[in-house]
């Protein structure tokens, strides 16, 4: 199965990287208490973890653990990694879902508009917006929005997923949404840029095709052409693009959650990296690979549904 092969590749890659790294797993685990442990104790710990074993043994051991679903214990959170990922992903998912839908729909709309009136001032404005946003650092845009909406205008909270000091079971739906609003909007705004530009490009290509030329020859006006032929023919690239954007969104969420101190998977990634939480980091790497893979597979599944040539191909008629 392709997924299996891919994940094994990622596993090998990750393991090799971490083995080569100057990170000492024992030190990473012990942390600040390193000073208080004797060399003998360090050796004992190393032996217990099998760190003195040759490379392949360690790798296969580790791989075996992973395949059984045992991703280890997070050093930062002191809970099993799988639990941490599950909890954190729930928080991120809401933000990602909103951003994914919004950036997809708005991106499609703006891109189609820009492509249809390519060269006009509307197109120029849309392009300016998209190019500028695409060139802007994600965390800076987040910062900007935070400053405007939270600090200056005070219509959104400055941080976190809930008001500070409130117990999680007491957080209301409104408070929850209120805290989700700005991070989700930020991620959406950033995601729109790329989708707009690519959709625009695709529509322009379609508008230069032979069949559009023929439609024009039939007396069809621009908007009908876009309606009947444009949208249909950019649907496939649009869907591919949409699912591919999941990867970028995940990366974007790392930065956005950092700026808004939103306790999602992205923020956990940063924590893991800064505090050398190897099990957590590895778990998140695997998870993100799975996430991207699912996205791509869903896109592949859409192809036969939309393109009759793939669905029916090979059925010729006399």
């Amino acid at each position: 199965m392709r997924l299996g092969l891919l994940l094994i590749a990622v596993a090998i890659f990750t393991f090799v990287l971490l083995s080569l790294s100057p990170i000492d797993p024992v030190q990473a685990y012990i942390g600040a208490d390193m000073m208080q442990i004797s060399a003998d104790q360090q050796a004992l710990i190393a032996e217990r973890w099998g760190l003195d074993q040759p490379f392949w043994n360690r790798f296969l051991d580790w791989l075996g653990q992973i395949l059984q679903g045992n991703l280890g214990v997070s050093l930062v959170f002191n809970r099993p990694v799988s639990e941490v990922i599950a909890a954190r992903f729930q928080a991120s998912l809401q933000m990602l879902a909103i951003a994914w839908l919004l950036s997809g729909l708005l991106g499609l709309a703006l891109g189609t508009l820009a492509g249809a009136v390519a060269g006009s001032w509307i197109d120029r404005v849309i392009r300016l917006y998209a190019y500028t946003l695409a060139a802007a650092p994600t965390f800076w845009v987040a910062l900007l929005l935070l400053i405007v909406f939270a600090v200056s205008w005070r219509i959104a909270p400055v941080c976190c997923a809930a008001p500070p000091g409130v117990l999680s079971q007491n957080v209301t739906v409104w408070q929850h949404l209120h805290h989700l609003l700005l991070p989700a909007m930020t991620l959406s705004i950033i995601g729109i840029a790329n989708i707009t530009l690519h959709t625009r490009q695709k529509l322009i290509e379609v508008l230069h095709s032979d069949y559009v030329l023929f439609a024009l020859a039939q007396g069809e006006n621009l908007w009908n052409i876009v309606r009947y032929h444009g949208l249909r023919n950019i649907l496939l690239p649009a869907i591919t693009l949409q699912f591919a954007s999941l990867s970028e969104l995940f990366g974007g969420s790392v930065l956005v959650e950092q700026v808004f101190a939103y306790p999602g998977l992205g923020e956990a990634t940063v924590q893991g990296a800064l505090r050398s939480d190897v099990p957590l980091l590895v778990g998140i790497v695997f998870f993100s690979a799975l996430f991207v893979y699912i996205g791509n597979t869903l896109a592949d599944l859409a192809y036969p549904i939309i393109d009759p040539r793939i669905r029916l191909g090979g059925q010729m008629n006399r």
């Binding site: 069949y211 024009l216 007396g219 023919n233 191909g313 006399r318």
Partner: protein, 309 residues
């Protein structure tokens, strides 16, 4: 019905380093078409014939500049008028199914063509189905995608796009290449029928033999300009006027099969004088300097100083 006079089309293109070059694809084209006749526009591949069709419909790309006069049914054919008439009074039969939307079934596409001429959706659908039946296409053709059509079926669907309209001028762009001879004959017959029904048909092709089967008159195209306008039968009675036409006739497999020596001139830099001078057996100093105008000769037209009756 249609009259073209001194039509010229030039394209601006950018090369590497942003050097600008101008390609003059159509030069001083003259042509006229009456109702009920088939006029073939014949010339080598790539000599700008398709662009003529696009010019008549007003769908040339934006980097094209057009000059000269076009008159349709007594009124000038301005860009505005082109937009009003295309699909209704002037229609195109395209070269291949590549000109149909690949993700849409063919029935609704032809139906749309009919709707654009003013019919209601229901009336359009009936018209399409009637036409398909008339051309012997099975009923399920309506719901097939373009890629599912065989060569013959595709041709008939493409011709239907013209038939469902009341258009008086039909432009058939290269309808024959790559097709089985039976399909070719059938296509040509359909086009002849259109003309016999009172429409004017322009047949753009590089296949003279095919054109001569149904054409009333033939306009010979070279390097973007008309070099001769002859009656169809002139080819068989040996009454050809221009040296290029004669060479073209001789080059046919069923005749002497002699290729025409030389190459078409570079469209970026059209030579002074006659455009055919580098390949012409009759060339002299006069035609090297001056470009001949189209003149009447023996009930036809020719662009040559030396052509005799």
């Amino acid at each position: 019905m249609l009259s073209l006079s001194n039509l010229s089309v030039t394209f601006t293109q950018y090369d590497r380093g942003l050097r600008r070059k101008q390609l003059r694809v159509i030069t001083d084209l003259n042509l006229d078409v009456q109702a009920g006749e088939v006029v073939a526009v014949v010339g080598a591949s790539g000599s700008g014939k398709s662009l003529l069709a696009h010019a008549l419909l007003g769908i040339l790309p934006q980097n094209a500049v057009m000059s000269g006069t076009m008159t349709f049914q007594g009124e000038p054919l301005t860009p505005h008028r082109c937009r009003l008439l295309r699909g209704k009074a002037i229609v195109l039969i395209p070269q291949s199914v590549g000109y149909l939307d690949p993700l849409m079934t063919v029935g609704p596409q032809v139906q749309r063509v009919a709707q654009l001429t003013g019919r209601t959706k229901a009336a359009a659908k009936t018209a399409v189905k009637k036409t398909f039946t008339r051309y012997g296409l099975p009923a399920k053709t309506f719901d097939l995608y373009p890629f599912q059509l065989s060569g013959g079926m595709a041709r008939r669907v493409l011709v239907s796009t013209a038939v469902v309209t009341p258009a008086q001028l039909v432009i058939a762009d290269e309808p024959t290449p790559g097709l089985h001879p039976d399909v070719v004959s059938e296509t040509l017959t359909h086009l002849r029928e259109l003309a016999d029904a009172g429409r004017g048909v322009i047949l753009i092709t590089h296949d003279i033999a095919a054109a001569l089967k149904i054409a009333d008159r033939v306009a010979v195209f070279y390097a973007g300009t008309t070099v001769e306008i002859a009656a169809g039968r002139d080819f068989f009675t040996g009454k050809l006027r221009h040296p290029y036409t004669q060479a073209l006739w001789r080059s046919l497999p069923q005749n002497e099969f002699l290729p025409v020596p030389g190459n078409q001139p570079n469209l970026e830099q059209l030579p002074q004088g006659c455009l055919f001078k580098d390949r012409c057996p009759w060339v002299d100093d006069l035609c090297r300097e001056e470009r001949p105008a189209l003149r009447e000769l023996n009930d036809g037209w020719v662009r040559c100083f030396h052509a005799e009756g």
